[in-house]
């Protein structure tokens, strides 16, 4: 006996449910999406196949995958199943960050400027006199402790096909530890896939006055902090062995946080900053992921050589709106704006591992649109999709759980009615841990477009 998920019924109910509550169908323990086009990412495309999910895990996938007895069925005819998309540098899930202005990396020469985060303005700014004051540092903060299922942005993200994000506390110089999260769950804790994704670092002073007040001061501070942490580690180790001769080290939460870090995320919009950051990470003896990368098209060789993965900023640079028409711009600036969208293709051709982020982007869907622009400029669709899925998972060491449609992975899927990069395509449903979520009702766009709900077609009507 097979059941068809009563999509229409759920849809109808959804209007009655307050928006804060995720719109979810009943959770079947065993589910099969049958006869769909399956883009596995890891193993090519299955034109007509079946994905079987048991208890939130993909247990079978293939053209010949059989539907187990008792499974609920989603009729996949006319649908395409992709692995759930991953935002590789996000604040989704941290409600406090929602109010903050996007941290678009940009500008040249310096690091990527970031906007102050919510909550930061209220904290009194302390005067830092040196590295010992740990300026702008919250290396003990963990995104995993801050994520909430109630973040209103989750629904919008899911609506664009995102099922996971690597989310970071971003305030100050060292924001804290990121977490790989699923963009839905029964409880806050259930959202966490990996609580230790890396330490988010930035080069824009925030949350303090005084030292370091310059970019080079920030580099020097980072170096000293890592030296201190290494000394702290050694002191604890030696004290444990010889508490009589070795003085008891003073507890330091900032250094504890640094020592817990598995990798660091450093901003590098252009090749100059990239060289600096690769060297800095080398001196800190830490694996590094560069974020806020804008000029990736001229960083490929060095990235490949140093084996450094990057998170591209896909808010492609454009001319300032209402810019002075008389302004003479340098050839370099014009070139950056012209070539930045070609970065994914250049990096893919060079074999550099890259993912993309919502950093600086207005709506989640714009991440996909930005990549579409790159596809039009020569990026292969597979590479674009890989950046949104498996590459992100690999960069953060969670590829065994996320990033492709494979047996054993978490059942995070996005089901569409066509090609993901076609703007007319609609996300029909997403699965997170095997739980189905429906996209939020669309709101009219353009000026004057409020939050007024508009009737949305059900899946059945579409087909």
């Amino acid at each position: 006996m097979r059941h068809i998920i009563p999509v229409l019924a759920v849809w109808a109910c959804s209007g009655l449910v307050p928006l804060q509550t995720p719109l979810r169908a009943e959770v079947p323990p065993l589910l099969a999406i049958q006869d769909a086009r399956i883009v596995t990412v890891s193993g090519g495309v299955i034109e007509k196949g079946t994905v079987v999910i048991r208890n939130g895990i993909i247990v079978d996938v293939g053209a010949g995958a059989s539907v187990p007895k008792g499974a609920w069925i989603v009729d996949g005819k006319g649908l395409t199943v992709y692995p759930g998309l991953i935002d590789a540098l996000s604040t989704w899930g941290i409600p406090e960050a929602a109010a903050a202005v996007p941290t678009a990396a940009g500008g040249r020469g310096g690091g990527a400027p970031a906007a102050p985060q919510a909550g930061q303005a209220q904290t009194p700014q302390t005067r830092s006199w040196g590295p010992a004051d740990r300026p702008g540092t919250s290396s003990w903060v963990k995104a995993a402790d801050q994520v909430k299922t109630t973040d209103r942005r989750l629904e919008q993200a899911r609506g664009a096909g995102f099922t996971s994000a690597v989310t970071f506390p971003k305030s100050g110089l060292i924001g804290g530890h990121g977490a790989v999260i699923n963009l839905g769950g029964e409880s806050n804790g259930q959202m966490i896939v990996d609580p230790s994704a890396g330490l988010f670092m930035n080069t824009t002073p925030g949350g303090y006055t005084g030292y370091p007040s310059s970019l080079m001061g920030i580099y020097a501070y980072f170096r000293q902090l890592w030296i201190d942490a290494e000394h702290y580690r050694l002191a604890k180790e030696m004290y444990a062995k010889d508490p009589v001769n070795i003085p008891r080290p003073e507890y330091d939460r900032a250094l504890e946080g640094v020592l817990e870090s598995r990798r660091v995320l450093l901003p590098a919009s252009n090749p100059i900053t990239m060289e600096r950051m690769v060297k800095l990470a080398g001196d800190m003896k830490s694996p590094v992921v560069l974020w806020g990368v804008v000029e990736g098209y001229r960083m490929a060789d060095r990235l490949k050589q140093s084996g450094t993965p990057v998170i591209l900023n896909v808010k492609w640079p454009t001319r300032e709106r209402d810019a002075d028409p008389e302004r003479v711009e340098s050839l370099r600036t014009l070139e950056v704006r012209d070539k930045a969208p070609t970065s994914p293709a250049v990096l893919a051709a060079a074999g550099v591992k890259f993912a993309v982020s919502s950093d600086g982007i207005d709506t989640p869907r714009d991440v996909i649109r930005a990549l579409k622009k790159s596809i039009d400029l020569g990026l292969k669709k597979e590479d674009a999709l890989r950046a949104l899925t498996l590459s992100a998972a690999e960069i953060y060491g969670v590829a065994a759980k996320l990033g492709s449609i494979d047996r054993g992975k978490i059942a995070n899927l996005v089901v569409t009615n066509g090609d993901l990069f076609d703007d007319r395509t609609k996300v029909q449903m997403v699965f997170i841990d095997g739980v189905k979520y429906l996209p939020p009702p669309e709101t009219p766009q353009g000026p004057g477009g409020g939050a007024a709900a508009r009737p949305t077609e059900s899946i059945e009507e579409e087909q």
Binding site: G109, G110, R127, S128, W129, G130, P131, T209, G210, Y211, P212, S213, S214, L215, M216, G217, Y219, A220, R223, Q224, I227, D228, H231, L234, A235, M238, D242, N245, I246, P247, P271, I272, E275, R276, T318, R319, E329, L331, R332, L334, E335, R337, D338, G446
Partner: protein, 450 residues
């Protein structure tokens, strides 16, 4: 036979690849006189310089007939090509290093190159008593930051005195806001500056001792925790141990003497006084310590401590036995840096120095101050082929730089620059038009109210 010819041709071609002969120019060697002659450059080094040289077959010939050839200019004090210059939040910021901020794409590098500068010493600013670590680089335009760095040179640190460094600590000075008093930085007076510098070197000595004690304990086989590395004190210890030079920003003679007393206390050598506008008053004392002075030809009165200045400063110090150089102190636009040759010419007018003495102040003298004179600063066999070709005598204000070689590689050519301009303009125009086109296409359709 044909194979042999080919082999020979390849061999001579390979040889010629790395050989350039600058022929028949007026050569200002700076250290070995001026004469009509030629220079052979091989593998980036000056191989031979003489009236008559041996020109290998296949060498690239640069005809310098009627032209003037001099060593690449060395600017002992500039701030170009840096993404940040001052860490002004604290009075001792020796942990920061401007080398890390070197921006190889900053256009000032090219401008300086076009003005004949081949080596530049980009310093930390003068916002605090002990500033940051400086960077010495060659203007190898087109290379990355690593490729610019002057390899093998002794590192240096900036120290500053006087108005700039005491200003941020003084409520009457700049930057004072209501309620921000607790954020003020010590010192607020010149005596405070002295205290800060003495205190820093005292702490550095203690830190040095701590490490020595640890090494001794370890040698005795005791279980000891090593001291924590302190990036602020490391460079100061290097100074105490003679492994790092000092560039000290100063104006007034009294504070120059004050600084000398601190240096004597800690037995610090390898100092070049920067700006040093009142250097003519203490030239004897500077010479006695064997320190250098890097000044301006006729730039002063921009603040109170820069009033008691004279254009004879460089010449007087030179005649009293001080090693003197002239610098640009450029930060924004490489403005003075592009005509350091005319700055040098001024010391002939004010002070009556010879052509060689004048040129030395922008070549071999700064090289000696930075202890890089074994590589650069004059046209001598064995040195780096850092060479500038002028159309006229470089000490003439009408002289223009025609070609610049660094390590035997041509980095600037005036004719190329001029012929390249229309192509670059066209490229810019093309990109601008393309962008406007895309903007037009993607602009939202204007909607009429219904």
């Amino acid at each position: 036979m044909r194979i042999l010819t080919l082999t020979l041709m390849t061999a001579s071609w390979l040889c010629a690849q790395n050989t350039i002969v600058i022929q028949n120019g007026t050569i200002h060697t700076v250290t070995k006189g001026t004469f009509q002659g030629s220079i052979v450059i091989r593998d980036g080094k000056i191989a031979e310089v003489a009236e008559k040289v041996m020109t290998p077959p296949g060498a690239r010939i640069v005809d310098a007939t009627g032209k003037h050839v001099m060593p690449g200019i060395i600017d002992a004090h500039t701030h170009i090509a840096l993404d940040s210059i001052n860490e002004g939040s604290v009075s001792v910021s020796s942990m920061v290093n401007v080398a890390e901020m070197l921006n190889p794409e900053q256009i000032n590098i090219y401008r300086a190159l076009a003005g004949g500068v081949t080596t530049a010493n980009s310093l930390h600013g003068s916002a605090n008593s002990i500033g940051g670590q400086n960077v010495l680089f060659k203007t190898r335009w087109g290379q990355n930051a690593e490729g610019l760095i002057f390899k093998g040179a002794k590192p240096s640190l900036k120290i500053a005195l006087g108005e700039n460094v005491k200003r941020s600590g003084n409520p009457q000075g700049g930057g004072f806001q209501q309620g921000a008093q607790q954020n003020l930085r010590y010192p607020g007076t010149r005596m405070g500056v002295e205290d800060v510098i003495r205190d820093a070197f005292t702490r550095a000595s203690e830190y040095q001792k701590e490490w020595k004690e640890y090494d001794a304990k370890k040698a005795r086989g005791e279980n000891a925790l090593p001291p924590k590395r302190d990036l602020q004190l490391d460079p100061l210890v290097e100074i105490l141990e003679g492994r790092r030079l000092i560039h000290a920003h100063c104006y007034r003679s009294d504070e120059i003497l004050m600084l000398m007393r601190i240096f004597d206390e800690f037995n610090i050598k390898g100092v070049t006084y920067q700006h040093v506008l009142e250097g003519y008053k203490v030239a004897k004392e500077i010479a006695a310590r064997g320190d250098g002075a890097s000044t301006f030809s006729d730039w002063w009165s921009y603040k109170v401590e820069a009033w008691d200045a004279i254009p004879y400063n460089a010449a007087i110090m030179h005649k009293k036995g001080v090693l003197v150089s002239l610098n640009s102190d450029d930060a924004g636009g490489a403005e003075l840096m592009r005509r350091l040759n005319t700055e040098a010419a001024k010391v002939m007018k004010y002070g009556g120095l010879t052509e060689d003495e004048a040129l030395a102040m922008i070549t071999i003298n700064p090289a000696k101050q930075m202890q890089i004179d074994k590589w650069v600063g004059s046209i001598e066999a064995g040195k780096d082929a850092d060479i500038v070709i002028y159309d006229k005598n470089p000490l003439s204000m009408y002289a223009k730089v025609e070609k610049v070689f660094i390590d035997g590689k041509e980095y600037f050519d005036r004719d190329n620059d001029i012929t390249e301009r229309p192509r670059k303009e066209a490229e810019k125009k093309g990109l601008t038009e393309k962008e406007r086109e895309i903007e037009k296409k993607s602009a939202p359709q204007t909607r009429r109210p219904s």
